[in-house]
């Protein structure tokens, strides 16, 4: 243990004294301190009042507008995201350097003729790198948190500050309604039942019946997403966690579209929010007479108590748009389910931010072990390239899934890409688990369970595996016979 610590300590000093580390620290500082200045430079006409008009008043529909709170959010997303990228590059470059260079330059002969087992040496190297990144992440965390607090205190408007605390300085829970998943098969079945009663299905071939089911599902979906003039449409939210406190604001987000109207056409309707009428704390209703625009994300603020103690919330919408007198468009409204959700604070900001930093650390731990795995048997440039590739594939996971999906018309290269990438994807842990930008974009809460899953995938499985292989390779390796480059 003391030997591992000696190597760890040595590695830490080594990284600290590398010139590239200094460079990266300067870049990090520039990013963290520079990002908050950007909106001021590029978006001069934002005033706190723009958003404050409707802010904080429950029930009013809010149009998406640039406001000070968005700047704070942008700052958080960008500074943490960029810091993550910079630290990852540093891990890869420093990690490959500490393990490759000493083999190439033969510095490694001296420590390895001391009584330190080679596997301990590898672990010590890795631990030194991780220790360094821990301190870097802690520094970045402090700097970002401090800057964010300064930005927050600069928001003088009370309503805007309230919104800021609700939307940015919180860990929020986001939930989609579960109506479609449950209801669609039921409605489709009902349609099919009717068709059967009409005895129209009897003469059909199995393929035609299958097609009929498809058609029924389509109709069901239409019925569940669309609402005709003066028609009603409902959504159910269940298993909602308790809001952070009584002052928490629950945001209900929706986007409504019509068949023909141009985006941005004004619409109106009534949203009715209620708790489960059968539950003991039933009876609270909340009504919003809303005016909103087509195809724009809009939101309604609800008081915290609308989320019942049973974790349920019902929403009903009444389409108040009569048939257009000029008949220029159909006022049947469509609510795409993926853009309909509620979001509200369930956890305080600080512990959530801490968990976010842990997500960053998990990535660095993973990368550190990957660089050691590559560096024990590859030369510096090759090892660096390999690690950068793994990092890039991980970071672009979602994009690559789409890019290499096999579509209707697929050529050789699409198949090749699909299978190569598909294979890699099965080996590598899921990077979405530790993607800070999707978390910060909506100030989402990072549950411990998510951290635990990420920890098992990235550290428990991959890191342990990579370090084991690296230690094995390093132990078996004939170090002095390395003929370099």
């Amino acid at each position: 243990m003391r030997r591992i610590w000696a190597v760890t300590r040595q590695t830490f000093i080594e990284i600290l004294r590398m010139r590239r580390t200094t460079l990266f620290i300067f870049i990090l500082a520039a990013v963290v301190l520079g990002v908050p200045q950007l909106p001021r430079l590029f978006n001069k006409d934002v005033k706190p009042q723009t958003a404050a008009l409707s802010a904080g008043k429950p029930g009013a529909v809010q149009a998406p507008q640039a406001a000070q709170r968005h700047h704070v959010q942008t700052f958080l997303v960008y500074s943490v995201g960029l810091a993550g990228i910079i630290l990852s590059l540093l891990t890869i470059l420093a990690g490959c350097k500490i393990i490759c260079e000493e083999q190439a330059r033969r510095y490694v002969f001296t420590p390895l003729t001391k009584p330190v087992p080679r596997w301990q040496y590898v672990i010590g190297r890795w631990a030194g790198l991780v220790l360094f990144q821990m301190l870097m992440i802690a520094a970045v965390g402090l700097a970002v948190y401090g800057t964010a607090q300064v930005l927050r205190l600069n928001v003088k408007d009370r309503a805007e500050r309230l919104q800021l605390d609700n939307q940015v300085f919180a860990g929020r829970y986001r939930s989609a309604p579960n109506s479609l998943d449950e209801d669609l098969p039921k409605v489709a079945a009902k349609i099919m039942q009717q068709r059967e009663q009409n005895e129209r299905l009897k003469d059909l071939s199995p393929e035609q019946i299958a097609a009929s089911w498809d058609n029924a599902r389509l109709l069901a979906r239409e019925a569940l997403e669309n609402v005709a003039p003066f028609g009603r449409l409902g959504w159910r939210f269940t298993e909602l966690p308790k809001p952070l406190n009584d002052n928490a604001l629950v945001e209900f987000h929706f986007t409504a579209g019509t068949g023909k109207a141009a985006a941005g056409t004004g619409l109106k309707g009534i949203f009715l929010f209620s708790r489960d009428p059968n539950s003991e704390d039933a009876g609270a209703y909340f009504r919003s007479d809303a005016t909103f625009l087509t195809d724009r994300d809009s939101s309604i603020l609800l008081p915290a108590h609308m989320v019942g103690s049973d974790g349920r919330l019902f929403v009903e919408f009444l389409n108040e748009n009569p048939g257009d007198p000029a008949a220029t468009f159909d006022t049947t409204l469509m609510f795409p389910p993926e853009e309909l959700y509620i979001i509200y604070p369930v956890a305080p900001f600080e512990p959530n931010f801490l968990r976010l930093l842990l997500m960053m650390l998990i990535l660095q731990v993973f990368l550190a072990s990957t660089t050691l795995l590559a560096g024990t048997w590859l030369s510096f440039p090759v090892a660096t390239l390999m690690c950068l590739t793994i990092y890039a594939i991980g970071a672009m996971q979602r994009f690559l899934v789409e890019a290499t999906a096999i579509r209707y018309k697929s050529g050789f290269w699409v198949y090749l890409g699909h299978y190569i990438y598909g294979g890699l994807q099965h080996i590598m842990p899921n990077f979405e688990l530790i993607d800070t930008s999707t978390v910060l974009m909506d100030s989402l809460v990072v549950p411990w369970t998510r951290l635990a899953v990420a920890g098992v995938a990235f550290v428990g499985v991959w890191t342990v595996l990579a370090l084991t292989v690296a230690a094995f390779v390093f132990t078996k390796r004939e170090l002095a016979s390395v003929i370099v480059e």
Partner: protein, 403 residues
Amino acid sequence: MIQPSEPYVQTFKVTKVFRDFWRREKVAAVRELDLEVRPNEVLGLLGPNGSGKSTTIKMILGLLYPTRGFIRVFGKRPTDVSIKARIGFLPEESYLYPFLNAWETLDYYGRLFKQPRIQRRQRVEMLLDMVGLTQVAYRRVGEYSKGMQRRIGLAQALINDPDLLILDEPTSGLDPLGTRQVKDLIQQLGRRGKTIVLSSHLLSDVEDVCQRVAILYGGRLRACGEVNDLLSQHGLTQIIAEDLSPAALDKIRAIAAGEGKSVLDISAPRQKLESLFLQIVADAQRERIATGGAVDTGRLAPFLRGEGELEGPQVVEQLLAATNGDGAAAAAQPVAPVRPPVPLDAELLSELTDAAEHGDGRKVLEDRKAAPTKPAKPAPAPAPAADRRIIDSLMKDDQADHA
């Protein structure tokens, strides 16, 4: 357990073939080498460049694996970590981390031996003092000259007070002073019963300090045995006297002729360049001329002399002294105590002249031969003019090869 008389290192028909990336055989660096390092001996590995000395050493240390044959070190495999605690190694070049300073370097290696803090600190300071780098201990090793790095390399090899010290060309890159020191050090350690393996292509290194030499050429063992046996040349007599007149020389010739022998060569003895240089440096040190490089303290670190390390109150005292302002105190210290100029063997000279007066110079020389503890003195060596035929022929071969 290993018997006391059992060799520390044994190689059995060891062959090392280097291959290239495609596994094609490139060089046979060592071929069928059978070698033994016995306890308490100073063994010289001698051979021209590229004869496989370093390769042999790296195999002994587990940095290379033999292609055929096997090696036992302290009765175990060279890759066994437990034996490393008893070994000190100075690589052919001082592969040291350039970003650490001398102090940190030694401290790091001390840590790898799990040495407790106080012991580590003591040893580091003693070793720095021994290799004469106390004054530059806080400069990065990367800034050091090659010789200074060599000194640190030597210091790190000694940090664990090893039983088996393996030195790969320890004097390469060192100034004559350093060379002298290293040789003295090896001799002192050898006298303390340490086992030392020393590789070199410099005959004088090996000649001065080794009891036994193994001569490698092209990866094969060509000769192996006691130095005296390999070097002594019977049938010649050397007389060193004060300046003699031609008449006196004629008399000597006549005496020789009377015994039926002829005088082969008469010349004025010249001071060896090595001893001259040593004298100049010693003088400079006596005058306390500052140097940014290495200095000779002439001291062996106490723990290497086998003297117990400081304990209890002594430690506290020393620590207190050390905390009196760390680096500043170290820098303010006077240049390390001066070592008296190396005597030009005045003792021997007077003995000789005495003996000459009694007409019995020959006996003194023979006495001298019989006392092999002294040949290391950098005096005009009264040791027999060496028969280096084996070695020289090998060296010549080598040059011819490379030409």
